[in-house]
Amino acid sequence: MANQVQAEEGPVKAYPAKRFFVEMLTRDIELKDSLLDLLDNCIDGVMREKKEQLNEAQPYTGYEARITFNKERFTITDNCGGIPKGVALERAFRLGRPDKETDPDIPTVGVYGIGMKRAIFKMGRQAEISSSTEECSYKVDISPNWIDDDKNWTLPLTETERRTESTGVSITVTSLYSGVSRLFSDATAFETDLIKSISAYYGNIILKGFNVYVNEQRVPPIGSAFILSEEAFNTGTGIAPYVYTGEVNGVSIELAVGFYRNLPTDEEQEASLSGRPSTEQAGWTIICNDRVVLYADKSKVTGWGEAGVPQYHTQFVSIAGVVNFKSNDAALLPVTTTKRGIDGNSELYLSVKEFMREGMKLFTSYTNKWKVPSADRPELATPAITSTTKSIAAMVPKDKWSQDRKSTIKGNKFKPILPTPEKQDDYRFIRFSRPISDIRAIGEHFFDDPNYAPGDIGGVCFDEVLKRIKG
């Protein structure tokens, strides 16, 4: 009897349920991020097309993606080469990439083959994906029925007339979920937030010639910028970023950290305490194969608040750093599947992090040393120069590099010698509180401006009294 039952039941079911992809995977990612995934596919398309020229300064020129949305539909259209029919039939629409063999020689961002599908499932229940390549044009439809049917794991592909000159992919999603529809209706200013995200995360790629339009508005790039004086590179002293470059196991690394703006004023420090809006350029930006995966991070992930580096504070608002990882095998890069985070356990990342911390500490302690305003504090008021890690590394004279012997990377580093105060007098802070009306009266008396910064008003009172005592 027992034997009979065993024979009837057969093997257990271990194949995936569609709900897993449609309802669960989509929870791991924010809408904004899944839209960036769609842009990643455009970029990977360009990389395939321009394989040979990827090291040029502007490899993405002429390529673009146009995103439009409203409360009923979402569309993204690119001119980045399209998905070859063979790839579509075999793997582009599978939920997850079956092998590692796709594009072995191109530094793509896509690895797991889930981005496009996850983005579609995140937005709605109906989609049409059409693609034009030199070879042919076709479309693939995803319907609500297909999404609900756990047995059906194939999608119909229909050949179509080629409509445009250019080759590329167009994805339209309808039957939007109500939350997504609300965001797309712009009731909560989603459009501006998305444009800003694309500016930050795609800044590097846009600067290399790619164009992104959101509802017909061209997205402006945000790139990295540093304050540097040529002198600092030549003499070794002055304001210049800390630079590190190296290559290990097929991944190249370029790192730069320094000041990108002037030190914060008292008002700014106060403002951040009362929760006023801020721009968030300070912190670390991590780039993997041109794609920003972490933007302006100020947490432990990038070394703040660990191993002797202080926690992020408005005092450090002038410090920004960039790390650029590049590899033809995207799986070697220290990035998570959502491509919006760092794999904190990656050995490669942990060794690079040591240099991130070393560089960062130079600048945090600089802001400590110059906390006290003094006449000989070097002015950081010079505008920062927009530049890539590569161009900064190229500016460092050959004889100023030093070899890193300790770490596994064995790279080269440039450690600037930042100016220190000549005489380290003992200073103390004085804090006190007085009625506003009195502060305003003194402000008017000394500066002809009742709204002058209270800190400066207090300072001048002190100096005046001191002058009187000393005669």
Binding site: S178, G179, R182, S185, D186, A187, T188, A189, T192, I195, K196, S199, Q217, V219, P220, A271, S274, G275, R276, P277, S278, T279, I436, P450, N451
Partner: protein
Amino acid sequence: MSAGGNIPYHLRQNKAIERNLFIDLLSRVGRYFNISDFQYIGFGGPFLEDFKHLHSSLRISNMISLEMNGNVFSRQQFNKPSSCITLRKESSADFLNSYDFDAADNLIVWFDYVTTDIGEQLSELQQLVEKLSHGDIFKVTVNASPTYLGHADAGREILALRAETARTRLGDYAPAHITPDDVNTRNYPTLLLKALINAAKHGLAGDSSLTLEPLACFAYTDGQQMLTFCGVLLNADERNLFFEKTRLRSWPFYSDCTNEPKSISVPVLSLKERVHVESMLPGASADEIIAELAYYVGNDLKTAQAEMSNFISFYRMFPWYSRVVI
């Protein structure tokens, strides 16, 4: 607020026009909501002018005034024109934290800022909208003089540097792209309007039943250029009914706030001039009036024409000021 404590609000004519437009707007919204049951919250200033006005023209009888300057607060206690005003010695930021919005009736809130701390004001606007509920009306007035962005001595770089400062000050609420053109005196109100709408919309992220319906925005200059923005929170499915009943879309001063704010500055006329110009109205155009006077009133002809056109729109709406000896 403290800096504005001693400005003679009652003598600022553009402000007076703007206040009248607000009453006009509220009475139209009153065709849809029972506006006299709403509670009004605002910065009354030493004379509580707005409160008098709202009480007499719309029968609003539950009002709160916020004031953080102790001396002005004492003046308010002396000047308080009606028993239905509660005076609170509190800043708008503290009010947002302490007030029980859940227990309140429908609200009309007007934060009429006089300081130039736009960053704080934007974040207060977001907090305010987060706390408001269906039917509530809010209005904010902010300083829109780009000179406060600084860099007065920067020479030809001034606009580029101002744009940079604007980006920092507006922070998360800044539009994605700020060009040097956006921070000249003419365009700065439009930039701030976008930031205000952005801040208000961020306040709605947590409540999917509500949408922001902008109703009006004006720019005017009584010494300082100011921008004022007013909106109401509606359910998405009642929009059409709201506009049908209020007929706001045919109100000449209605704006969905997607374009630049309407300027409502009028020329500063002498008594004799005003009597003369009004005798030609309604009927005469700005050009005809200027031709008839044989001179223009203002810094240059173009501004004078624009302001005279505003005068033609608003002459019925703003008071006569003159010296009274008691």
